[in-house]
C-alpha cells in the first residue's frame, strides 16, 4: 500500500512539476543552444522514466546534452565509450580477488550510476550491448549468481552515429524497442554556431551548470507522470495510431504493444509541460515521432541513415489520417 507514503510525500502539483521541468530545460539550453524542442523532449523522456537514444553525427552536442542533464538533475554520471573490444564486465563490474583476505568482492562497473552515457553503443559487440540493454530493462545486474540493484533513478542515454556504419553492430529491433525515444539534435543554426564561436570561452559551458533539481524530485516527477489521467478516448486514440502504423502499406512492421505503452508514458510526461494532470491528443502527437520512428521497420530497401526522416514522415502522415477524439 503506497497511500501512507503518498500522504507523507505528496505528489507535486502539475504547476510545480512544470516549474521543475522548465528550470531543467532552461538550464540545459545554456549548454545546448538553439535546440529547445529536442531539449524539452529529452527532459520529457527522462521524466517519463525512459531511456534515450541519441542518433547524430559527431560533434553536435550529444555528450554535452547528457552531461548537462546529469548536472541539472544532480545525478551521478558515467560515460562509457563503447568500442569493439568492450566486454560486459567492463561496464557491469567484476569480482575482484583481495589477496589480504583471500576473498572475492564485487567491484561495480561504470553502469552503477544514475545516468549512464553509452557513447557509440553500436560499436560494441552484441554481447556487451545485450548486457547493457538487459540492465536497462531490469534495473539490476546479475553477475555470477548474485543480483546487484542499480541506483535509482536509473537512466541510460545511448548515442549512435547514423552515417558511419563500418565496423558497427547495428542494434536489433527488439533492443531498439527498449529506448523510449530516439532524438537527433542535428546541426545548430548558423546564428547559434556564430554565437558559439564568439561567446564560448575556454571553459566548457557544462562545467558551469548547477543542479536545478534533485534525484528525489525526479522520482516524485516520475510518480506524478504515472498518476496522470489518460482518458479512454485518448487511450483509444493511441491504439488507433498504432494500428494505423501496422496497417500502413509502406511499413513492414508497425508499432508493438511496448511501443503503445511507451507512447502512453511519454504523452503523460509531456502533459506536465502544460501543467496538466491529464493527457490530450496533442500530447500524444507531440511525442509520436520520437517514440515510434525508431521502432518501425519500413518496406523501403534503404535501411540506413535516411530511413529516419522517412519514418518520421510516415508517422506524420499517419497522425494526419487518424482522427483525434474531440
Amino acid at each position: 500500500m503506497n497511500s501512507p507514503a503518498r500522504a507523507i510525500n505528496p505528489l507535486p502539483s502539475p504547476a510545480t512539476a512544470r516549474a521543475a521541468l522548465e528550470r531543467v530545460a532552461a538550464n540545459l539550453s545554456l549548454a545546448v543552444q538553439g535546440k529547445d524542442k529536442e531539449v524539452r523532449l529529452a527532459v520529457t523522456c527522462v521524466v517519463a522514466g525512459g531511456h534515450l537514444l541519441l542518433e547524430d553525427v559527431p560533434g553536435v552536442g550529444k555528450t554535452t546534452l547528457v552531461e548537462a542533464l546529469a548536472r541539472s538533475f544532480d545525478l551521478s554520471f558515467s560515460r562509457v565509450q563503447f568500442t569493439a573490444d568492450l566486454m560486459p564486465a567492463d561496464i557491469l563490474g567484476a569480482q575482484v580477488f583481495h589477496a589480504q583476505t583471500a576473498t572475492f568482492s564485487f567491484r561495480p562497473g561504470p553502469l552503477f550510476r544514475q545516468l549512464v552515457l553509452a557513447d557509440e553503443l553500436n560499436r560494441a559487440p552484441p554481447r556487451t550491448q545485450s548486457a547493457l540493454l538487459e540492465a536497462m530493462a531490469q534495473g539490476q545486474v546479475s553477475l555470477d549468481g548474485a543480483t546487484h540493484a542499480l541506483p535509482r533513478p536509473f537512466t541510460v542515454v545511448a548515442t549512435q552515429n547514423p552515417v558511419d556504419f563500418s565496423g558497427t553492430y547495428p542494434l536489433p529491433d527488439s533492443q531498439l524497442d527498449r529506448f523510449l525515444m530516439r532524438l537527433s539534435l542535428g546541426h545548430p543554426s548558423p546564428e547559434v554556431e556564430a554565437r558559439l564561436l564568439t561567446t564560448r570561452d575556454a571553459s566548457s559551458p557544462v562545467e558551469a551548470l548547477k543542479a536545478v533539481t534533485s534525484p528525489e524530485e525526479l522520482t516524485e516527477l516520475r510518480a506524478q507522470v504515472a498518476a496522470q489521467r489518460l482518458d479512454d478516448t485518448v487511450a483509444e486514440y493511441i491504439v488507433r495510431l498504432a494500428q494505423a502504423t501496422r496497417a500502413h502499406g509502406d511499413i513492414e512492421r508497425g508499432a508493438s504493444t511496448r511501443a503503445v505503452l511507451a507512447l502512453g508514458m511519454a504523452a503523460r510526461a509531456h502533459a506536465l509541460w502544460e501543467s496538466r494532470d491529464f493527457v490530450t491528443p496533442g500530447d500524444v502527437r507531440a511525442v509520436l515521432a520520437p517514440c515510434l520512428a525508431h521502432r518501425l521497420l519500413l518496406r523501403s530497401a534503404n535501411q540506413g541513415a535516411y530511413t529516419r526522416d522517412e519514418a518520421t514522415h510516415l508517422i506524420e502522415e499517419v497522425a494526419r489520417k487518424v482522427v483525434a477524439p474531440r
Binding site: 489521467r229 482518458d231 478516448t233 496538466r276 496533442g282 482522427v323 477524439p325
Partner: protein
C-alpha cells in the same frame, strides 16, 4: 487512391432491390422476361460484377427499347398500364445495379425500389408482399446507413462495419416501431379501395363449384390443405373430428360424361331462404367462407333447412348480401366478394326431412339414365341388389359392394369415352365422384330415385371452431326414401372421404392462413373506422353487465395502456437523463465545434488533421492577436473533454461570448489599416 466500395453495403442494396422486385413479382403479373432480366441483373451484381460501370449513360439507352416494348404491350391491350410501369421500375433498377457503385447510384436504386414497393402494393398487397416490404425496409435502411458511414470515413481508412451495424440495427428497429405507431394512430384514408386483388393468399382459390361435375381428370384437390370454411356449431358436438357432410349442391342429370341440373334458377333474391321446415332439434352454424374457397355457393351441414343473414367481406368492409336459389338445391350469394359469413339451421342426419319443393319434372329426372348406357351396368346392379325393394337397403347393399370390390385412387388416366364403364369394368378404381356416380346410376337402373351431391366431408376442430379444407371436397349420393326424404349414402371407402394431405403441411398451411387473415384484417383492411374503434374501445366504460355496478370509469385496458405509456415515458426520460450524465464529453465537443466555427469566421482555419489544441499552439507560436483569447479557452475545452472537469452550466456560453468579442475586436483592428489605406 480510389476507395473501394463497401461490399456489405452493395450486397444489402442488391438484396433490398430483389425484395422490392419480389413484392411485385408475388402478384404473378410481372412479365416473365422482365422477371428474368431483373434476376440476372441482381445475380450479376451480387457476384460483384458491374459491367455497365464504364458507360452508365450509354447503357441507359438499352432501357429505351424495353420501354417501347412495354408501351406496345400496353397499347395492344396485352398488359395493364400499372404492371408495365412496375416492370419498367424493375428494369431501371437493374440498369442502375450494374452501373458504377457510388452512393448516388445507391440512392437511385433504392428510390426505384421504393417505386417497386408502391407497385407491389397496387398489384397484390397480400401477405408475401408484406414479407417483401419488411425485407426491403430493413435491407435498404442498413444499406443507406452504411453508405452514410462510408461517406464520413476518410479515403483509405477501413469502414468500421462491425461497430456500426449494431447501432444501425437498433435504429432500424426503432424506425419500424415508429412506422407501426404511425400506421395505427395516423388518420388513415381507405386508399386500398383501388387495390386489385389478383387472388387471395397462396395462388388462386381452390374448390369452386361449377354448374357441372365432369368425371375424369386428376385429383390434386384431395391433397390441398388450405382452409376454405370455418364453422361454429351450436350445440357444440365437442368431438375432434366432425364426420359431417357439408352440402354444396346436388345434380340430377348424367349424360355419360358429366353431371348437370335441370332445375331453373329462381329470379328472386332474398336475405333468408327456407328450404324445408325445420325439425325439433336443429344444428345452428355460423359459417365463414374464406378467400381460398373462391366460389359463391353456400355450404351447409346436411341437411340445411334455413339459411340467411349473409355478410360479404370486401376490401372496403363488410356488407349485407342477398341469396339466390338455383337448381339442384344450390344457394348462391348475389355478389362476388373475398369471403362471406352467414348463418344456417340444419336438420341433423337421421331425421326425416322434407325432400324440398320438387317439380314432377325434377322427380322424374331422379330416375333418368344416359341415353347410351351400357346394359351391363343394369345387370351388375341387379346382381348386387337382387330383389330388394327398399331403396335405402338397396343403396346400402350397393354401397357396401362398391367399397368392397373397388379401390380408391387419385391417379386417373384423364378423359375416356365412358368414365363409368371404365371405372366399373376396366380400372375398378376411382375417386369419390366415380363411386358416387356409380351408386347413383346403379340405383336408378333398379328403379330407385337418387341424385349426386357434392360438397365437403369432414371438419377438424381448432379452438371452438371446425375447419374444412379444400382437400375435404367430396361427392356422395342422395337416395329418395318415401316418407323420409333424401337420405345420404356414401359409396366411397370411409378412409378416403376427407382430405389426404400431410399433417405437417396441414399445420403449416393453417399457420399461414392465420397470419394471412391477421395481415388482411389488421393491415390491408385497417381503415379510419378501425382507428376510431380502437380509440373508442380504449376509452369507453365497460359494458354494463347484469349483477355489476354501473360505472362511468374507463375500462381496465385504458388504465393498463395509460400505465404502459407512463412507463415508456419514464424509461425514455431515464435513458435520456443517463445520457446527460455522459453529456460533459458531448458538451465539450459541441463547445469546440462552436469555437472552431467562430475562429473560421475570424479567418483562422484548422488545417488537415489539426485540432483546436494544435490551432491554439500555432496561434501562440505565431503571436497571433487572437492567441490570448483562444489559449485559455482551449485549455478549458481540454480539461472538460479529457481531464474530467466538465464545463459548468452557462460556462460554455460565457466563454463563447468572450471569444466572439475578441474576434470582433480582431476584425475591427484588421479593417482599420485597410480603411486608412483607402
Amino acid at each position: 487512391m480510389t476507395t473501394r466500395p463497401n461490399r456489405l453495403r452493395l450486397i444489402l442494396r442488391d438484396l433490398g432491390t430483389a425484395a422490392a422486385f419480389s413484392s411485385m413479382a408475388v402478384s404473378g403479373q410481372v412479365p416473365v422476361w422482365a422477371l428474368a432480366l431483373v434476376i440476372v441483373a441482381v445475380l450479376v451484381s451480387l457476384m460483384g460484377f458491374h459491367p455497365f460501370a464504364r458507360a452508365p449513360r450509354l447503357t441507359a439507352i438499352l432501357l429505351v427499347p424495353l420501354a417501347g416494348a412495354l408501351y406496345l404491350a400496353v397499347a395492344a391491350g396485352q398488359m395493364d398500364l400499372v404492371v408495365a410501369a412496375c416492370s419498367f421500375a424493375g428494369l431501371v433498377a437493374s440498369q442502375r445495379l450494374l452501373s458504377e457503385t457510388s452512393p448516388t447510384t445507391d440512392g437511385q436504386v433504392l428510390l426505384a425500389g421504393l417505386l417497386m414497393i408502391a407497385g407491389g402494393a397496387a398489384l397484390s398487397g397480400e401477405l408475401l408482399f408484406a414479407v417483401c416490404l419488411l425485407a426491403f425496409a430493413v435491407l435498404a435502411s442498413l444499406s443507406l446507413g452504411l453508405a452514410v458511414v462510408e461517406a464520413a470515413v476518410p479515403p483509405g481508412e477501413p469502414v468500421p462495419v462491425r461497430h456500426v451495424l449494431r447501432p444501425l440495427s437498433k435504429g432500424v428497429l426503432v424506425a419500424m416501431a415508429g412506422a407501426v405507431a404511425f400506421f395505427v394512430l395516423f388518420p388513415r384514408l381507405n386508399w386500398n379501395v383501388g387495390v386489385r386483388r389478383a387472388a387471395p393468399g397462396l395462388g388462386p382459390a381452390t374448390s369452386g363449384f361449377s354448374d357441372t361435375v365432369r368425371l375424369g381428370g386428376s385429383g390434386t384437390l384431395k391433397s390441398n390443405p388450405r382452409v376454405v370454411l370455418r364453422a361454429k356449431l351450436t350445440p357444440d358436438p365437442g368431438s375432434q373430428r366432425l364426420d359431417a357432410y357439408w352440402l354444396g349442391r346436388t345434380y340430377d342429370t348424367f349424360n355419360g360424361q358429366e353431371w348437370s341440373t335441370i332445375g331453373a334458377p329462381s329470379k328472386r333474391r332474398r336475405t333468408r331462404v327456407t328450404l324445408r321446415p325445420g325439425a325439433e332439434k336443429q344444428v345452428y352454424q355460423r359459417i365463414e367462407l374464406l378467400p381460398a374457397y373462391g366460389a359463391r355457393t353456400l355450404i351447409a351441414m346436411e341437411t340445411p333447412s334455413k339459411l340467411g343473414n349473409a355478410l360479404m367481406h370486401t376490401p372496403t368492409g363488410d356488407r349485407r348480401t342477398q341469396l339466390q336459389e338455383l337448381g339442384g338445391d344450390e344457394l348462391r350469394f348475389v355478389e362476388e366478394a373475398l369471403g362471406y359469413s352467414y348463418e344456417v339451421y340444419s336438420v341433423p342426419p337421421g331425421t326425416d326431412t322434407d325432400p324440398g319443393k320438387l317439380a314432377q319434372k325434377e322427380l322424374d329426372q331422379l330416375l333418368s339414365l344416359p341415353e347410351n348406357i351400357d346394359p351391363r351396368i343394369e345387370e351388375l346392379a341387379h346382381q348386387v341388389v337382387g330383389n330388394e325393394t327398399d331403396p335405402l337397403a338397396a343403396a346400402q347393399k350397393l354401397s357396401n359392394w362398391l367399397q368392397r370390390e373397388y379401390t380408391y385412387t387419385l391417379e386417373l388416366g384423364g378423359d375416356v369415352a365412358d368414365p363409368l364403364m371404365e371405372f366399373l369394368f376396366v380400372r375398378k378404381a376411382g375417386h369419390c365422384e366415380h363411386f358416387a356416380t356409380a351408386l347413383t346410376l346403379m340405383l336408378r337402373t333398379q328403379g330407385f330415385e337418387a341424385r349426386l351431391a357434392t360438397g365437403f366431408f369432414g371438419g377438424e376442430r381448432v379452438g371452438d371452431e371446425y375447419l374444412v379444407r379444400a382437400g375435404d371436397a367430396h361427392a356422395w349420393t342422395h337416395v329418395l326414401v318415401p316418407g323420409r326424404g333424401f337420405v345420404t349414402v356414401d359409396a366411397t371407402p370411409p378412409a378416403f372421404r376427407a382430405n389426404q394431405s400431410l399433417e405437417l403441411l396441414e399445420s403449416l398451411i393453417s399457420l399461414y392462413e392465420a397470419i394471412e387473415g391477421m395481415w388482411r384484417s389488421s393491415v390491408v383492411d385497417y381503415s379510419f373506422r378501425d382507428q376510431m374503434n380502437f380509440l373508442r374501445d380504449m376509452s369507453r366504460p365497460p359494458r354494463n353487465e347484469p349483477g355489476k355496478e354501473r360505472t362511468q370509469l374507463p375500462p381496465l385496458r385504458a388504465w393498463l395502456t395509460a400505465a404502459m405509456a407512463g412507463a415508456a415515458v419514464y424509461w425514455t426520460w431515464r435513458y435520456l437523463s443517463r445520457r446527460k450524465a455522459r453529456a460533459p464529453v458531448l458538451e465539450a465537443t459541441r463547445f469546440v465545434d462552436s469555437v472552431e466555427r467562430q475562429l473560421a469566421a475570424a479567418g483562422v482555419r484548422a488545417g488537415d488533421g489539426e485540432t483546436l489544441e494544435d490551432v491554439s499552439a500555432r496561434l501562440t507560436r505565431d503571436a497571433h492577436p487572437l492567441a490570448p483569447a483562444v489559449s485559455p479557452l482551449t485549455r478549458r475545452y481540454l480539461e472538460a473533454r479529457f481531464g474530467q472537469r466538465p464545463l459548468q452550466p452557462g460556462e460554455s456560453a460565457r466563454l463563447l461570448k468572450e471569444l466572439k468579442h475578441s474576434v470582433e475586436v480582431h476584425k475591427q483592428q484588421q479593417q482599420t489599416p485597410r480603411a486608412r489605406a483607402s
